[in-house]
């Protein structure tokens, strides 16, 4: 390799190049970097997508788009990102798709073990804590997913938790995650949180109805598919109540 370098440099730069040590180092450095980058294996892939969830007084709405991408290619137009966990909770996960699949199948196993041991459905807050532990166990090779857990809490009230890739979690009333997070979260704040209201205006009590929550979720998915490259194709919205789960599918932009 060194022989080739010498011949290459002398042919391109002429004899002067061989005298300049700085130039030699520069060229070598770039070649080194190029070589290293080719050899290095990146275990993560960004598969894109959007998920969002809204909690209400006695329901939780969780929505996702159905596009999976890899770079500028669309790998799937019809892959839902919602996973049913228990009869009253669902996980919506976006980021690296292989990590999503691994994480959700592990969670399904753990939930079945819990239900067989304790003879009861796992409560959503316990499930949130378990997800956090499971994700933090992989602190030094994380599940590269941003996930949302939405469902009903022990009293039947709607509840939403969101997780970062290493398991930090927080309870909230509404959340959007994924490639269009920056577009959607401010919209949700405006519609549901009234966070940016001026102090002089009274802050209304949070009581979004089921119908308007589903409409907001639908609108947000449309916003995401319009402006975000990696979201689109179809949208799936599921509403969890104590009577079961109702599902709506909408068509989004396909480009």
């Amino acid at each position: 390799m060194d022989e080739f370098n010498k011949i290459f440099k002398s042919s391109v730069f002429g004899d002067e190049a061989r005298c300049s040590d700085e130039q030699d180092e520069e060229i070598n450095e770039f070649e080194e970097i190029g070589r290293k980058r080719k050899k290095k294996f990146d275990p993560y892939e960004a598969n894109g997508g959007t998920v969002l969830a809204i909690a209400g007084a006695d329901f939780a709405v969780v929505a996702c788009d159905t596009r999976l991408s890899s770079g500028y290619n669309v790998t799937s137009q019809d892959q839902t990102k919602l996973f049913r966990m228990t009869k009253e909770s669902m996980v919506a996960s976006t980021g690296c798709w292989c990590d999503t699949l691994a994480l959700t199948s592990l969670l399904e196993m753990r939930i079945q073990m819990y239900e067989q041991e304790h003879n009861k459905t796992m409560a959503t807050d316990s499930l949130a804590q378990m997800i956090s532990i499971v994700m933090y166990n992989r602190r030094f090779f994380p599940y590269f997913t941003s996930s949302i857990l939405a469902g009903l809490d022990r009293k039947g009230k709607g509840i939403v938790y969101y997780f970062d890739p290493v398991g930090h979690y927080e309870r909230c009333r509404y959340r959007a995650l994924g490639t269009s997070y920056a577009l959607l979260q401010p919209c949700l704040d405006e519609l549901l949180g009234w966070e940016n209201l001026l102090p002089s205006k009274p802050v209304p009590v949070f009581n979004v109805s089921k119908q308007s929550a589903i409409e907001i979720a639908q609108k947000c998915l449309e916003i995401a598919s319009d402006r975000d490259l990696f979201s689109g194709d179809k949208g799936e919205i599921q509403c969890i109540t104590k009577d079961g789960v109702t599902s709506t599918t909408i068509l989004l932009r396909g480009d």
Partner: protein
């Protein structure tokens, strides 16, 4: 069976070629209360008699769900049954996680048989003192398996184990030909009648007594029916149904189309056939 010089260890053969310890373990199953398993074309049902050891205590859990597609009923040493059910549960979960589908019942039974066999061939272990009736449903249809402490397992059309189960077995043998065509309600009623015959004589007479009614647990698994242990209310419904129908009203003559029905056991009639694994498949 009597005590002799060849029964001190499970690794000792008798001159007649018997392992007495294993046979004594099988006798332990007869100490447990009776339990019945039977199936029709698409469903398998387990009925267990849960008699508490004394009036002061609650009855033991006889039916244990293993996975969505199968569950077991136990007779014998409950602690051993707990260990086996934990093993079966972890096997089913692991299979579901690795292959994304339910563990085929016959293969799970072979797996369990292999595990139980090691205890009959080691000087530092003893056989599991529990008999299992396993009811499961997979692509091959419904299954009833009987597993003994000797690690022998039998694919059954219907079976009973436990104390005083011979009369229940006689009932099942008498009505066997009708099971395939029975509806779910009928098959549960058959199970209840079968197990009623293994009650002690004084309790059989007091059929109207409320206390003896709640001593039965029923579970069903099958097509589009995950393994489900019926609630107390549902139990009462079936107990009343069984009482109303009575044994005489049940058809005891075989029906015409039974000969053509594919039970899954007759070669040539069924297109699906689970590969029969004849030897131990896993090294323990």
């Amino acid at each position: 069976m009597f005590r002799n010089q060849y029964d001190s260890d499970v690794t000792v053969w008798s001159p007649q070629g018997r392992l007495h310890q294993v046979e004594y373990a099988i006798a332990a199953v007869k100490l447990g209360t009776a339990t019945v398993g039977l199936k029709n074309r698409d469903y398998a049902v387990l009925v267990a008699l849960c008699k508490p050891p004394s009036e002061l205590s609650a009855s033991q859990r006889k039916l244990i769900p293993i996975d969505d597609h199968l569950g077991i009923s136990i007779a014998g040493i409950t602690a051993d049954a707990r260990v086996l059910s934990k093993y079966l549960r972890s096997e089913c979960l692991s299979y579901k996680h690795s292959y994304g589908s339910a563990y085929p019942v016959s293969r799970l039974i072979t797996n369990l048989g292999n595990k139980m066999q090691t205890t009959t061939q080691r000087y530092d272990r003893r056989p599991y003192g529990v008999g299992l009736l396993l009811a499961g449903y997979d692509e091959m249809g419904p299954h009833i398996y009987k597993v003994e402490p000797s690690a022998n397992f039998f694919n059954c059309k219907a079976m009973t184990i436990g104390s005083r189960s011979q009369s229940a077995r006689t009932y099942l043998e008498r009505h066997l030909k009708t099971f395939n065509a029975c509806s779910n309600d009928d098959i549960i009623c058959h199970g209840i009648h079968a197990i009623r015959s293994s009650l002690p004589n004084d309790e059989q007479l007091s059929k109207d007594d409320g206390a003896s009614q709640l001593n039965i647990t029923i579970a069903i698994v099958g097509k589009n029916q995950p393994f489900k242990i019926l609630t107390d209310q549902e139990n009462l419904v079936y107990l009343n149904m069984a009482k109303e129908r009575g044994t005489t009203s049940m058809p005891s003559k075989p029906q015409e189309d039974d000969d053509n029905s594919s039970f899954g056991d007759q070669p040539g009639t069924s297109t699906l056939h689970d590969p029969q694994v004849a030897v131990a498949t896993k090294e323990n």
